[in-house]
């Protein structure tokens, strides 16, 4: 997928927690309308990468450019610019209703009518949420919560949607629906998606390109299909050994 300027460009990123280096010279780029996956084991720094791009976590050195501009320092400004993160573990607001959760997603937008329209679109995408619109978020099942989290992120009309472990804790059938929805968003609406997944095979199948993150370093990158066939990836992330 040829693109003129990347939508998101990360260069030589270093991130530290206290004295520990969590991301080490990470460089990656995301072009418009791509689905990019970052795969890696637990603790490899995937979530840190997401948080850094969402400006929740500061980086030590390197640069992040979004639409050709340096990334803003405050999370809310980043959201306004069009990057929205669906955090790991969904983190919906359990005591608030589904509707309130969705409205929070549109916090940065002021036009009520447009917001209402987006909500309609989101409810179209996830009809289950419409049934539960006035229920408390905490009473939803895991899959519904994940739908809510994605729906909530879509409410901000993001240019770049980031998903942190969308398959976490979900039954396989729900994961399928989830990933189908993600694909649909990309194909029908041209939404750019950056996705972090531990379930490597799933992610690799879905994405256009992928990066492999290993203890804070990017060790491989390439086309999703290629990586799926790669022996090293297969052995360390897919658990498929020769024997």
């Amino acid at each position: 997928m040829p693109a003129t300027t990347p939508m998101l460009e990360v260069n030589n990123l270093y991130v530290h927690y206290g004295g520990i280096c969590a991301l080490h010279q990470v460089s990656l780029h995301v072009d418009p309308s791509e689905i990019i996956a970052v795969i890696g084991a637990n603790g490899a720094g995937k979530s840190t990468l997401m948080k850094t791009i969402a400006a929740v976590k500061d980086f030590t050195s390197g640069s992040i450019q979004f639409m050709g501009m340096p990334l803003k320092k405050d999370p809310y400004k980043v959201v306004m610019d069009g990057i929205t993160l669906v955090p790991e573990g969904r983190r919906i607001f359990a005591p608030l209703s589904v509707r309130e959760n969705l409205l929070l997603g549109a916090y940065t937008r002021s036009d009520r009518q447009e917001v209402a329209q987006t909500m309609e679109e989101v409810l179209e995408l996830f009809p289950r949420l419409r049934e539960r619109l006035h229920q408390r978020g905490g009473t939803l099942s895991g899959g519904e919560q994940q739908m809510l989290a994605v729906g909530r992120a879509l409410m901000s009309r993001p240019k770049l949607l980031m998903l942190d472990e969308p398959s976490l804790g979900l039954a396989p059938i729900i994961i399928d629906t989830m990933f189908e929805a993600i694909t649909r968003l990309n194909q029908q609406m041209g939404l750019t998606i950056l996705l972090v997944e531990q379930n490597a095979s799933l992610a690799l199948e879905l994405c256009h390109r992928a990066y492999v993150l290993k203890t804070g370093h990017i060790t491989m990158e390439g086309n999703g299909r290629e990586l799926l066939e790669d022996e090293r990836v297969r052995s360390s992330y897919l658990g498929i050994t020769g024997g």
Partner: protein, 279 residues
Amino acid sequence: MSDSIFAMKNVSSEEISLKNLSVQFGGVRAVDNFSMTLYPGELVGLIGPNGAGKTTVFNLITNYIKPTSGEIFFMGKSLLGKSPDEICRMGISRTFQNIRLFPQMTAYENVELGLHNVPHYSLLEAFVRTPRARRAEAETRKRALELLEMVNLKDFAGERASSLPYGLQRRLELARAMATSPTLLLLDEPAAGMNEDECNELVKLIRQIHEHMKYTIIMIEHHMNVVMELCKNSRIYVLNLGSLLAVGSPKEIQTNPQVIKAYLGERKHARYNSNAGSQ
């Protein structure tokens, strides 16, 4: 069910048995009618997709949460109503999915804590450090260093736990769990976040301590090669949405159609027999 494995054991000598355990959180059955029996010296795996209730089973055994119904027997004694620390002192020790070391204590102190969860001298002796107290402390120190050595952490004894690299923290947690001199060890994703080499090393380490210390071990793990390797002579329990889906030897599990469907993934078969998400 693989009857052959059960048939080898005498029922009366069971180490721990969970009987029809259920627990509910706000209407959701996190664990549903789960039963499991282990005999001394066994090493079994507990796998299942995230949210399947694996850690909840550990929490039930250590009575961090109380079951809605069902019973747990450890060496013939019921564990219900006992506090987590009593249960630990009875001989059940665990590690945690999200490492829970004492961050500001050194590696050595972390291990030491497990050794003196009940101090070895009286409070009065603590204030004046009688020779007996000093001897007890020296003994503890020796044991702690031995344990650190066993997990290859002796060189890091004086480092703050929080400043250790991730992999070493996992091993430190293992050493700390061993320090309470358990007979049953509950390992919650010991290989989480480790790369292949580290995993291999861990497999070696776990096998070594299992053989050497004669622990009974229940292990939750997502790294299939770790589980399959360590449990190759015993069995694996598969949990899904709180209830037992299957139990059997690694081979049986890998080929069990139900397991493949729920956990390893159905669509593209073989490709999905991996870690379907973690944490």
